[in-house]
């Protein structure tokens, strides 16, 4: 089972980001990167950097290609950020991003990057004043692994240090409130389909898939996401304040969290199948050109529940632009 989880993440998280790294690096230019990148790091991260006294050490677990943006913001406040990510392509993209902006005459402290598995983090215990983990924990395929990530984050923090974790929310903003119809999803990335030519020979019969893959293809694709009007989903337990989401949604439209925006610019209306019918029946594997990413979307309170018993004092959970954010403080060892 542990192998299956790691394999799922390898195929539907790491490989996808690796492939898309060059596109991400370019998309950042127009300020139209993914949610964590639009006009720089998200508000919750900016707030954390502002709350910290000057000159703090920050670790960003799963930093991705936005490490440069974070390090610029951190440097502006006198902090130092260390970014760790499993994907070398994303780290190189972050480095490229820093160099591109540096050449435009902006002197900023360079991001410090390390290629690492955030579940086996090569950073010293209790060395950091703050740890951020933005849009990472939702890519882990089991509760055990998600807890391991939070445990690593807690380990890195000095007593009193601050943790910020964000994850895609099961409950989505809008009026009426919507939610996904399931917590474990494969989300298509709007990669352009390769052109179909009639001269293509019929595809060879695929070899029988291993059990974990057969289980995987029964995960619902994002089609049917808009359960709000059809299924009467969105039980109304979404506590989101609609003012949080004004910039992202209007009455009858909902913009999917684009990653990056440039590859999925369309606004979708409720009821649309996001795959435009290409997904086929819910058991069929998606076509090669359409990259699927695995997400476990979090219910309200689930992040705090995940962090239970790890030496973290959960301060606040809130909904921000379709994500649950959790702010916590590392308790001194004597507390547990």
């Amino acid at each position: 089972a542990a192998e299956a989880e790691a394999a799922l993440e390898e195929r539907f998280v790491h490989r996808v980001y690796s492939c898309m790294a060059p596109a991400l690096a370019c998309a950042d230019e127009g300020g139209s990167g993914g949610c964590a990148n639009r006009r720089g790091p998200p508000a919750c991260v900016r707030d954390l950097l502002r709350d910290l006294p000057p000159g703090c050490l920050l670790a960003d677990l799963g930093c991705g290609h936005s490490a440069a943006a974070l390090s610029r913001l951190a440097a502006a406040r006198g902090h130092l950020a260390v970014g760790a990510d499993i994907c070398l392509d994303l780290l190189l993209a972050a480095n490229d991003d820093w160099h591109r902006r540096r050449s435009r005459g902006r002197q900023r402290r360079q991001p410090l990057l390390v290629q690492a598995d955030v579940l086996r983090c090569p950073l010293r215990s209790a060395a950091f004043d703050a740890v951020t983990c933005v849009s990472v924990v939702h890519h882990l395929a089991s509760r055990d692994r998600r807890r391991r990530l939070l445990a690593e984050a807690a380990r890195l923090l000095r007593p009193g240090g601050r943790l910020l974790v964000t994850a895609w929310a099961f409950e989505q903003p809008g009026r009426p409130a919507r939610s996904f119809n399931c917590q474990d999803l494969l989300v298509p990335w709007g990669a352009p389909e390769p052109p179909q030519t009639p001269a293509l020979p019929p595809p060879p019969k695929p070899p029988p898939r291993p059990a974990w893959q057969r289980r995987l293809s029964s995960l619902p694709l994002l089609a049917g996401f808009f359960g709000g009007s059809r299924n009467g989903g969105g039980s109304g337990d979404c506590q989101a304040d609609s003012s949080d989401c004004e910039s992202d949604s209007s009455d009858c439209e909902f913009r999917i969290r684009e990653f990056p925006a440039s590859s999925c610019p369309r606004r979708h209306t409720a009821g649309d199948c996001l795959c435009d019918g290409a997904c086929g029946a819910a058991g069929a594997p998606a076509s090669e050109g359409r990259r699927l990413r695995y997400y476990h979307v979090f219910r309200q309170g689930e992040l705090a529940d995940c962090a239970r018993g790890l030496g973290l004092d959960c301060l606040r959970e809130w909904h921000e632009q379709g994500n649950w954010c959790l702010s916590a403080r590392r308790m001194p060892p004597s507390y547990y």
């Binding site: 670790a59 006198g78 070398l88 402290r109 090569p122 010293r124 060395a127």
Partner: protein, 138 residues
């Protein structure tokens, strides 16, 4: 165009191999550098003052000694005292030496080595690769 690397001693100070099975401390990692460079980085006294209490100073001095022994630079890195002086916040001479070691020295090529198992972590394009295999994990 060669991109400046980021394997600085201030990063080295944060790194450990303790995620490897059987490793008790895993710190400081040995610096087996084959190519280093001194980069121009603006001196910011306030930043150094804030960072110093957050570092493991013995790890910094060990790294500087290690690199000076390798003799890869035209001029060796300035020698650092074994402990941070009490007046460090006002001691510009000391702060500047610390700045050179922590922020200006870049390890371009080489590897980091676990002090307990000898396991090597390569540095590629300035980024240290600290990934381990499943059978090495604690």
């Amino acid at each position: 165009i060669f991109k400046i690397s980021n394997m600085k001693l201030i990063l080295h100070n944060m790194l450990t191999s303790a995620m490897i099975k059987g490793v008790k401390k895993g710190y400081p990692l040995l610096l087996r550098a084959t190519k280093v460079e001194l980069q121009p980085v603006e001196f910011d006294a306030g930043f150094v003052v804030h960072m110093l209490p957050r570092l493991d100073w013995s790890g910094v001095t060990a790294a500087v000694q290690c690199l000076n022994q390798l003799d890869l630079l035209q001029d060796p890195l300035p020698e650092l005292p074994p402990t941070v002086p009490d007046d460090y916040a006002n001691n510009e001479d000391f702060l500047r030496k610390a700045h050179i070691a922590l922020m200006q020295l870049d390890v371009i090529e080489g590897c980091l080595v676990c002090p307990e198992t000898g396991r090597e972590f390569p540095i590629a394009k300035g980024i240290p690769n600290m990934l381990i295999n499943d059978n090495e994990a604690a």
